[in-house]
């Protein structure tokens, strides 16, 4: 059990959870804003993807505690996540999704 205590860290405080939620809210407002402002349309796809990746990482790191937990959990999650991403990219290249009209 000593090893358990050596690898586990305390979870964030309620204050940090609320700060993360505030950032998530702001990023969601930015996403919708970027969608509606025509000026941003040339960079819409990269901007939206970057914003959603940041939101994804914030939830996984702080709400799912991967930032504080043992790195083995990150490996268990990250391995299949990378595999899933690679599979999705391969499928979309095979079916020519990236050839836009």
């Amino acid at each position: 059990m000593a090893e358990t205590h050596a690898t586990e860290h305390p979870h964030p405080t309620a204050g940090l959870y609320i700060r993360v939620a505030t950032v998530l809210f702001i990023l969601t407002v930015l996403e919708v804003g970027v969608f509606y402002v025509p000026t941003f349309h040339p960079i819409l796809v990269p901007a939206l993807l970057i914003l959603s990746v940041i939101k994804f990482c914030l939830v996984v790191m702080f709400y799912m505690h991967l930032k504080m937990d043992n790195r083995f959990f990150t490996m268990i999650f990250g391995g299949p996540l990378l595999l899933a991403f690679g599979m999705a990219m391969a499928l979309m290249f095979l079916f020519k999704v990236f050839v836009l009209k």
Binding site: T4, A21, L24, L44, V45, F56, M64, F73, I76, L83
Partner: protein, 204 residues
Amino acid sequence: MSHAAATHAAEGHHTSMGLDSRKMAFWAFIGSECLLFATLISTYLIYSHRSLQGPYPQDILNIPFTSFSTFDLLMSSLWMVLALAAVQRNDMKWAKVWLMGTVIGGLIFLLGQVWEFSHFVEHGLTLQRNLFGTTFFVLTGTHGAHVFVGVLWLFTLWVRAMQGKLTSKNAMTVEITGLYWHFVDVIWIIIFTVVYLIQPVYHG
């Protein structure tokens, strides 16, 4: 159950690495769910713009309404972690409040999805209508089914808390429930971006 057995059950089983085996198994489950949703999202991206007849995404998707649903799900994730923090400090009064808040947040999301689906059907978009309808309903319906399971799970935790059977000794149970709920949230973050925000612009 003897006192020693009850204590052991409350502490959970640990692997040789000293990690909670339930938590490790649940992370493996979440990893497998990534593969499931990756296939559904990529299938949507491949086929949704190959419909031979309408309605098309840009005709029917309601961005302001879905933005509200997204905000609701993000807030329910906050309430979930606040419930976990309350359970960990054995503040069961606030744990019950935040757990019920998360349940209500999930129910609001589900009601919104039911309204959205019925609105789409009224406008002629069904599972059989075109490739957009097929892939959209399968993807968002699978996500909605996950939300439904999460709401049931959270509600059982709230009932146990009301019965006085949920204490700080069961914090790991709440944490694992939270992992499921946050995973449902991160999947929605991707769906909201890929299906609702990016697709209509490229189809329009």
